[in-house]
Symmetry: C2
DNA sequence: CGTTGACTTGACGGAAGTCAAAAGGTGTGG
DNA sequence: CCACACCTTTTGACTTCCGTCAAGTCAACG
């Protein structure tokens, strides 16, 4: 399996071979698997290892005293779960597994070492957190000023792009293992209304969503339905041409597969897959 | 005038005299004033100076193609407007003045110098951006899972705390110079509904809000009405009225870590310098 | 004054919530 | 291989919160 962290960061800056090796080395740290519903990192917990999501889907979520739940972000392969650890005393929200997931647990010192060794990696990681903030702001717009259809379309389109970046799509189709209840918690809507809205999107021929697989049938029209405005993801290298993203992503996949570490990780993850 | 940046950051860590002087020196850079409605920093613009808000109130906002506007954050004295400049090519949103404001324009190199000189300041600034993310996430909860009254109460309570931190309150009363239209754009509601909700809050004896001054009459009950859960502001030292948190910011990161971080930031910032 | 910007009010409509209950899937055990 | 349990999805009737679109008030100000 490719190093999706590298693929993601290379949307910002093209690494030299040495930096790429440094990033590959991260994947050799012990992994931990979680089942759907597991809390990967708990609110209030003090974390020592940085969690890098390798496979699956996770979410940042918070549950209010009366049981209402809000998902505030999705984490896809290549995303770091808890960079705040360097500075903050504790997590202010939970990271939960939306499906079976795998994380690499990287000791904080190792990341710190990276930061001192490579200014490009430092900048790239910093870029990652800035992009995360941009996504949070965009979600606020979603919740505040977009209707249900627009909002769900926007979320789907964003997930499409983010999955493309890390090479997790085939023909605008990707694994998106969430229930409609989860989607309701992410959008701030209710499950029945999510259901109706999904049916509208399906009827409009924009998407297909079954068996936990989301297929975007017409990316351009989905983008329009979402009133999507690119820019907040700060994909320096490309974005507008959605196709460009996927092409490049494909290159990176094959490149990464050639590295020994890449293949080692591939072994691990496929073993996990088969053990289900 | 007090240095509100210092006051804010000291919620995280207690500075030595030298660091405090370093921060004070920032205030001697040229200031710029803006009138209500002015765009302080424009979306897409490449910024060279870091804007530190000294007086007034500003907001992060985005306007959609059809005119809908969403405010995604408020900036109070002591807040930095554009730390993303170090990494990102351009702003992905506007900073607008909600009232007459004053900013100090600090050359990016000066901030970079600070980062290399003082690891405590580095950590504190980093903390600031992490807190900003926490606030964004909390706003998503506001929009997604809180009703109008709850949401406005929450926003008011948060603003109360943030103004207290920088010494901008007297008896839970502070200047909050926004119109109900602005409030609507921040909450995702409509002006008439904001109006009705405000009247409810007033009738309940929770607040007073006139002449651009917000007075919290009963902080505890406002807090309850908001279903406020502390923690996301990460006020290590105190959150008056909240449960005290042990003061141990210094323990968070070891001395070794500090120098590592310092060097890391030095790397990245000098790299940025040269890439310009 | 008259104009402007902000706040207030009300009638009406519509998008989304609530609360069931039924209908599909899927996996497990008998 | 069926049967049952369990989870998800779907459906529908009914409610409510909030939006829409005015019109109207008020205070500040030129």
């Amino acid at each position: 399996m490719a190093n999706s962290l590298t693929m993601k960061l290379e949307q910002f800056i093209r690494f030299e071979q040495l930096d790429r090796q440094r990033l590959d080395r991260l994947l050799s740290f012990p992994t931990k698997t979680f089942a759907r519903g597991d809390v990967i990192i708990e609110e209030g917990k003090e974390v020592r290892n940085i969690h890098l999501l390798l496979t699956g889907l996770a979410a940042r979520a918070k549950v209010l005293a009366d049981g209402r739940r809000q998902i505030m972000a999705f984490l896809v392969p290549g995303d770091l779960c808890d960079v705040e650890v360097f500075v903050l005393r504790a997590m202010d929200h939970n990271i939960v597994a939306m499906t079976d997931t795998t994380c690499v647990l990287i000791p904080a010192e190792v990341i710190e070492g990276l930061l001192t060794e490579s200014s490009n990696i430092t900048k790239a990681l910093w870029w990652g957190t800035m992009v995360d903030s941009g996504i949070l702001r965009e979600w606020i717009i979603d919740h505040g000023r977009r209707g249900a259809r627009e909002q769900i379309a926007h979320m789907f389109y964003e997930m499409l792009i983010r999955h493309r970046i890390v090479g997790e799509t085939t023909d605008d189709s990707f694994s998106f293992p969430i229930t409609q209840d989860d989607l309701a918690d992410a959008t701030g809507l209710t499950p029945p209304h999510v259901n109706k809205t999904l049916q509208e999107l399906r009827a409009a021929g924009l998407i297909e969503f079954k068996n936990k697989v989301l297929t975007v049938l017409d990316a351009q029209r989905l983008r329009n339905a979402a009133n999507y405005e690119s820019g907040y993801l700060h994909l320096n290298r490309t974005e507008k041409g959605d196709h460009e993203v996927s092409e490049r992503a494909g290159d990176l996949v094959s490149a990464a597969k050639q590295s020994m570490l890449g293949r080692a990780v591939h072994n691990v993850t496929s073993a996990i897959k088969h053990s289900r």
